[in-house]
Symmetry: D2
Subunit: 341 residues, 4 copies
């Protein structure tokens, strides 16, 4: 069985594992204040041109999202997100468990527009009974989205402008940020996230690490006492170095982007291969997640050799599936898959 | 200015006020365990044929909803409701503040169907990642709905059957229950609510009381320790008698239904009047809330003499408004309104 | 049976009831924005010399406490309170249900001192692991306390100074504020609460109203969007006028203080009577709650004629009970009680 | 600088690291359902004689505690714990953030007694106003405690019996369970935890792992849907194998207990050394945490060469500190320390 179902089927990239082995016997202080964390922070601040931002390492994506959002919202506020957003559909109500409504905006491809945000904002404030309605308190987007798609610079700029105008902090879920940044379709530089968002996170789990995400708090308003919240929500590791060491490795010699480029490159091959053979794609994704639409018959056949992630029914005898690549995906396996379709 | 904007513009029905005056100097114990509360409970159990149900008096609708729902759901469960449901749109996220997601089902007229509930249930349990998704834990409907519409007995029966099959407790928000029960379009008896639902509440605030709702807990599973929750959520009055006395009065000599019939009667007149003059109604409501669609010009004119509740824009120069009747609405004011349209 | 068990055994003071009757047929807008609420607010702002404060009417004490505290604290903060404080022991965890720890300070008589607050604050911030500990975020005191005792002006001044120094907003639970203000032992003027506290509430339920408390928000930082929270927590009445009307009556012709003075006067008589006959008091209360220590034998005898609130076991054959007076307590019943002890 | 400040200053035990390296390129499914997790579960079920228990792997101690407690308690219930308990003092209010009060029982040495639990339970249920008070819903103890002390079998038996009698599920925080089980002072077998408790967790982070705890759910009542809660609270790793692999290694060839025995052995040496030289210990700990009382002068001297955890001021010129050992502690460093005191 060759697994293409997600980008977390193997352990960590070998250079991360090596560095963990190498540093294993060092003695460090706990809870994310050790030298490795400090060093990793500095590397991230440099790569993302955010020297004045705070960088925190958290355990996983849901944890990062719920902690970040809980830090921003007032008790009567909600977070605007695409209806397809991870926080709206795949975190078992983590945001609601912190007391906040997810204000879902309909989305086909995983993205929302500046106009939609403006509309939701206006609808709230123009309602005479607005005190009876959850107040929009921030905006959440994913880059890339859960469907592999990307915001263009123009789209992100527009979203960011509306958010600033409406005093809605913009938070970017970058669980797969690397794949977005290194996509051929991308026109936004790593150094620009600090300009467009109030907070964003750099995904580790899905980009080569064992686990771990780096949350970048750009807006001063949300920096104070953030570590209290990480601890309260269960996201602070005693051996915090485990996260620092991994992010040090990821941002040494461009490894983070190298990993992502490798995965994107193979994803493009897969996409091209499917399209060439006349398949259609559910989403036009330029990143490491691809969504071919496959007949039931073919799918049955493929499922004997390949693991994929079932996505949805498309018509009577076709379904869309998700195929993912990662740092560990092998050219030869991609070649086999393309032969078999 | 004649107010038609809601059914709570006056104080309480005179017979309630009289009874409050009459009993004012009695000494009773506190927190809803006095003789008046006991007596009111018995009357309700009789009228609704639910001798084995627990009856609690709470302060208001949002309070009742959040307390009832918090009592039923496990932390990872959500409540299925119409997208237009009061808990989804007009309670400032009260349910989410208790940690639970509202699982909204699209609805045009305020109702949801048995099929929709079954579909949402099936979608959850057939998803391989269902542990990553909020689990449907109960169903919330309003009778009448927020749009004045009613479930037929057949519809409620079907909903109830699906709920039972899927082990989803059914909770009915009866903020305006009286208007529903006495509507000419209604074919469900008061005595049948105990059969179809696990919990329902009999609205007082909007049916003649100063404030107060009577929550009827039918399902034994949710009876235990319920008073702890009422207290914790701030819904337990020291002078709990204030609620008992009002519900005693409401269920003395059929007052509750008399109030509702009066309001429905005038609402029907209003509806007929509007239709006769060629107006369209946004919803086909057989209860005390009516939703005529009115031109901007006419609306401007009317707004000098009448208070209504603005509902929504319908087209370039028409809007829908809500017009409500209550125990206190006067025939002569209805006549004036119909003259002026 | 003559009830002395609490100050909420009867309905409302007759002048409140009369005003409710008188205004019953008026048409007003809902949710606390009607003319009666506006008028009541102005009266309160005048009596408490707080023209710049926001005044909100809420349903009850627990509701007011949880809403006010939820408005002030960040998710990782707790509220400092006496171990005997109402929020710590008699609100079924309402504060915790909003996500916040009550940081209890040991107290014998219901009061806490400026020194204790300073110590708790210092202990937190001097702890190297303070991020692992709930951060003190505000201070809650009751005036009078749950034991009937009062802070002197000097004590309150000191507490207030520490709170300001430590940036800990001070919130005063005035469920029985009237009894405190009119106590012969009191040296703090109504007009001074605005100076010492960031928020306080003026209790209605226990001082003659059917129900209702007036929350005064002094500190600008906590004013914004407060009505959203009232709605979310279920404390906003559709017929909000019910609260406004009652507070209008309470602050017309000094009724609020008249009620309290009457109750205090009779409480003093009771206290003097008990002391004269050689009884001891558990707390030295100068307000409407008295705590005589009574032998089992005597208590049994009294309980045939009088209702009291059992407080606690004192020694092998003595217990303390609470005896309360109110606007409705009659001189003759006090005389009977004193005869019978 | 030689670090004795905690038991998590190094990475993981080499055999764990080796196993991570060895398995790194395997492809597994995510979220804790892979072969390694399954295998690790079986090993734990065998060692702890709990074949019918569910075993879940979570990220850290706070996370495990808050998830387990949230799964057990109803919204109006609290958890009984020692005042010194980790959940009461060192988790930034994680339990309260889930809506529950920690009902603290005074404790000097970190333990609570069966009598204290019975008393708290009785006090609640004998109070006439018990609905106004948080209901005791479960009991939390730590083994070893936060002070290094242990419950004897007799004590645990008594606690367990009271808990069963009062229907209070007993949950044991075993962040350092290995050190307790292998302590010379311990008379409770690993196989007995299933008998005495409803849930307990086997700490990994502080006993040689990079991170991770194994929660054992003994009581059927709390098994259902537990994975939803893990996901919601952010404790479910995409690469769940990371936890499975570590626990497989820990329970291969008795490694878990070997690690603990090593640390306990050196802790005993430290304790003996201090006592021999006339020092006093703050707690009489038979596990890997030792609490010598040291003069300011001496402490200053030691702090130049050794890292310890400052505990508390004892008298004018003495403080207690915590000294910890772990799998990585070297005999030679212990020898140096003992020379220097």
């Amino acid at each position: 069985m060759i697994r293409f179902d997600c980008d977390y089927v193997e352990g960590a990239h070998p250079r991360i594992v090596e560095y963990l082995v190498e540093t294993n016997m060092e003695q460090t202080i706990g809870y994310g204040e050790d030298e490795h964390c400090i060093h990793a922070r500095k590397k991230i601040q440099k790569v993302f041109a955010c020297e004045h931002a705070d960088v925190h390492f958290l355990v996983g994506g849901t944890q990062t999202n719920l902690t970040a959002i809980a830090a921003v919202l007032k008790p009567y506020q909600g977070v605007i997100a695409a209806s397809t957003g991870h926080i709206n559909v795949h975190e078992t109500g983590a945001i609601e468990a912190c007391g906040h409504k997810v204000l879902a905006i309909p989305s086909e491809d995983g993205k929302i527009t500046a106009e939609q945000v403006q509309e939701m904002y206006d609808a709230h404030w123009s309602d005479e009974s607005h005190e009876h309605i959850v107040q929009p308190g921030m905006v959440y987007i994913s880059f890339p989205t859960e469907n592999g798609t990307l915001y263009s610079k123009k789209e992100l700029e527009a979203l960011s402008a509306v958010c600033k105008k409406c005093s809605l902090p913009l938070y970017i879920d970058g669980a797969r940020l690397g794949y977005g940044l290194t996509s051929k379709a991308n026109d936004i530089a790593a150094q620009e996230f600090v300009k467009y968002s109030d907070m964003f996170y750099i995904g580790g789990t899905k980009v080569g690490a064992l686990m771990g995400e780096a949350l970048v708090i750009v807006n001063d308003a949300f920096k104070k006492d953030f570590r209290y919240l990480i601890k309260q929500k269960g996201g602070m590791l005693a051996k915090g170095r485990l996260l620092g060491i991994q992010f040090e490795a990821l941002f040494e010699d461009d490894l983070y982007f190298e990993i992502a480029r490798h995965a994107n490159h193979l994803a493009e091959k897969i996409k091209a291969g499917f399209l060439e053979k006349g398949y259609q794609m559910l989403f036009d994704s330029p990143t490491n997640q691809q969504y071919p639409i496959i007949s039931d018959e073919k799918l049955k056949e493929l499922s004997e050799k390949y693991a994929y992630c079932y996505w949805c029914r498309v018509d009577e005898n076709h379904s869309a599936v998700r195929i993912c690549t990662s740092w560990a995906t092998k050219e030869e396996n991609v070649a086999k898959l393309l032969e078999d379709i």
